[in-house]
């Protein structure tokens, strides 16, 4: 227990404005996110992430949003287990043929008004997997998309920018 306390004290607060090259931009994005979420979502934007067929690369970067460095909760962004509580669906993919129905059901289970953000080059247009018998291409082929975030995978700061764009739009 003492070791844990000591480690916590030694670590201190590591949450930071952002990486040097994006610091100014992200500080601004952070404050805009906070302001917007406070106004439109009563301080709490709840996200359900859906993997509709990705390679797991996008998931790693979405996980990173929750690490102590990016710490997206400070802006009021939370991830939920159920689409019933979600304001926004964060969908990665290309949409796999075998996930199409599950994606539609998740979308239908999310209460309106709802936002959909397609993540990654595959989410935009199918990326390297293209369109074929098992890959239906971008997320917009199956459900309506509000904002698409390019990148393979998009960096955490690109993800935050995309989320901001969705709630400002």
């Amino acid at each position: 227990m003492i070791r844990i306390a000591r480690q916590i004290l030694r670590t201190g607060i590591v949450t930071e404005p952002f990486i040097p090259e994006a610091r100014d931009q992200i500080r601004e994005i952070g404050s805009r996110l906070t302001a917007r979420i406070r106004k439109r979502f009563r301080g709490s934007l709840t996200i359900r992430q859906v993997d509709a067929g990705s390679c797991n690369g996008c998931e790693l970067e979405i996980h990173a949003l929750n690490n102590p460095i990016y710490n997206c909760e400070r802006f009021g962004i939370h991830f939920t287990a159920s689409p019933r509580f979600a304001d926004l669906l964060l969908v990665t993919g290309p949409v796999a043929h075998n996930m199409e129905i599950a994606l539609r059901r998740t979308y239908d289970a999310t209460p309106s008004p709802k936002l959909v953000v397609a993540v990654g080059d595959c989410g935009v247009d199918g990326g390297v997997f293209g369109r074929g018998y098992a890959s239906l291409g971008g997320i917009h082929q199956v459900i309506p998309v509000d904002v698409a975030i390019a990148g393979c995978p998009p960096t955490p700061w690109a993800l935050l920018t995309g989320i901001l764009q969705a709630i400002e739009g």
Partner: protein, 526 residues
């Protein structure tokens, strides 16, 4: 000749034929008649071989029928046994009764290539869902992959358990967290799980078929996206298999850099896993500490090599990113911080009795079961199997035993605790390897030209990714184009291990067990 070849050659001497079109030369391809396919497997099993993969090819373009390949391994040797099924009679004898992992491989061959394993106990479709047309066989050359599949009615037949108090819990494909899709069906009595059935295939994107429409170079970009967290290892396996077919020798500096990327990928993923396992045992402190260290690594990757996950840094013929003196100094400084912080956290992990209580004797995969299932990688090493391609099938620089002195951690308890400790020790070892790589990095070029494979050849590579052994097998067509790419992610065999490790555990421990295996869905569902 090799030990495995001798094992089948003595009994089947006149009936096997060595195929010289297989590269590299150290991997033998023996062709046996269809009726001797099981006999060959039986002889190899007697010689202690493990089944590494089984797959089928459509060779009608060469005027042949379907090729069925089974890849066996023992120690440093790989041996591929091939048999042919004529196009008018697409069947072959099943190996499932000899080798358990053939169970999934053959269901997949049956579903996607339409070649029937005769004697297989369970021919329910695998990867292919019940709403696909029954005659849709995407891996056949006659299949048109550009058209979307129509949906037909159908129902999957789940394994059932009946009895008083038995109930069923369906989970997925959309799980609670930020995780890939799959479906798990538990039968439980009270808290105890009596059976787990996995159903995968939700992220099947037709990757193996997709390769067939791409050039050899473009294929590497696709290979890098088979499983996003194993991008270095998968693109490396693809690149090495292609290089073996074209007699391309990547420059030494690029091989050192490849190893460097591979070890950095290993550390980053292991850090994430240790944190996530601890978090599933309600020890969030460890998750955030580990995520902090992982983020540090990813940032250094971004800064030095231009990509956080190192995607597309490995290419056929070499690598696309180099490191200079300043980068080297930076990485060494980063490793010092990482090593120091990590060791502190290991002490905390080790001294937390409440955590120990959750992870010990949970999700046990016994060594004898592990061997029977031919599992690989961290799962195998936590269950007493000393398997590691970096030792048994090394590419440079791993072949420099004397100065590298690679140490592979092996545990025997096969529980969550063992899988965590294998990861901890691998991180320590990888940090040491990276320092060694940076100290011994040869100067010179980082790419070499890659030729075009000749017609009707095959290339093979096995690479130790962070999850375990990755196998990539390539076949060229009549004009030297891509004819077939077979990818065997470690998850393809290790998923069977999870299914066996779960019964007897309580339902709330499933996430903990699952996380300790941490298998890829995308890599499995290719």
């Amino acid at each position: 000749m090799s030990l495995l070849h001798d094992a089948i050659a003595t009994a089947l001497d006149a009936e096997i034929r060595l195929d010289p079109s297989q590269h590299p030369a150290s991997v033998l391809l023996c062709q046996v008649p269809r009726e001797k396919f099981v006999e060959a497997a039986r002889l190899l099993k007697k010689a202690y071989a493990l089944l590494a993969a089984e797959w089928a090819t459509d060779e009608t373009a060469f005027g042949r029928g379907y090729g069925i390949y089974a890849c066996f391994r023992w120690g440093p040797e790989y041996l591929i046994v091939k048999t042919e099924a004529p196009a008018e009679d697409p069947t072959f004898p099943s190996l499932t009764r000899k080798f358990v992992p053939a169970y999934r491989f053959e269901r997949q061959i049956h579903s996607l290539m339409g070649v029937t394993p005769v004697g297989h106990p369970d021919l329910r479709p695998w990867i292919k869902f019940e709403d696909w047309p029954p005659d849709a066989w995407p891996l056949r050359k006659s299949f048109d992959p550009s058209r979307p599949l129509p949906r037909v009615p159908g129902e999957y037949a789940w394994a059932r358990a009946e009895g008083e108090g038995v109930y069923e819990i369906p989970v997925g494909p959309v799980h609670a967290g930020i995780i890939e899709p799959g479906h798990f069906r538990f039968q439980a009595v009270g808290e105890s799980i009596i059976n787990l059935e996995e159903r995968l295939g939700y992220v099947h994107k037709g990757i193996e078929k997709r390769f067939e429409g791409l050039s050899w170079q473009e294929g590497c970009r696709l290979a890098a996206r088979i499983s996003g967290d194993t991008t270095v290892a998968h693109s490396l396996a693809y690149a090495m298999a292609l290089e073996s077919m074209t007699a391309c020798q990547p420059p030494p500096r690029s091989q050192w850099l490849r190893a460097l990327f591979l070890e950095r990928e290993r550390i980053a993923n292991h850090l994430g896993d240790i944190g996530a396992i601890a978090n599933d045992a309600a020890f969030a402190f460890m998750l955030y500490q580990m995520m902090r260290l992982k983020e540090m690594l990813l940032r250094t990757n971004h800064q030095l090599f231009g990509h956080r996950l190192l995607m597309d840094r490995v290419q056929p013929g070499g690598v696309t990113a180099d490191i200079d003196a300043a980068g080297r100094a930076e990485m060494l400084a980063e490793l010092d911080i990482l090593a120091r912080e990590f060791e502190r956290l290991v002490v905390i992990y080790d001294e937390s009795p409440s955590l120990e209580d959750r992870v010990k004797d949970t999700g046990v995969l016994l060594p004898e079961t592990a061997r029977e299932l031919c599992v690989v990688g961290i799962v195998a090493r936590a269950s007493g199997m000393n398997l590691d391609c970096r030792i048994f099938n090394p590419f440079p620089p791993y072949d420099q035993y004397e100065s590298l002195e690679l140490n592979v951690p092996v545990m025997v308890t096969g529980d969550v605790h063992a899988r965590v400790w294998v990861r901890i020790n691998e991180i320590r070892e990888s940090i040491r390897i990276i320092r060694w790589l940076l100290d011994n990095l040869p100067a010179g070029e980082i790419t070499a030209p890659v030729g075009r494979p000749g017609p009707d050849g095959a290339g093979f590579a096995a690479v130790e990714g962070w999850r375990g052994e990755i196998i990539c097998w390539l076949q060229s067509g009549p004009a030297g184009e891509v004819s077939r790419v077979m990818v065997r992610d470690p998850s393809s065999v290790n998923w069977l291990g999870l299914e066996q490790a779960i019964p007897g555990n309580i339902v709330p421990d499933f996430p903990l067990c699952n996380k300790s295996f941490n298998q890829s869905y995308s890599g499995h569902d290719v």
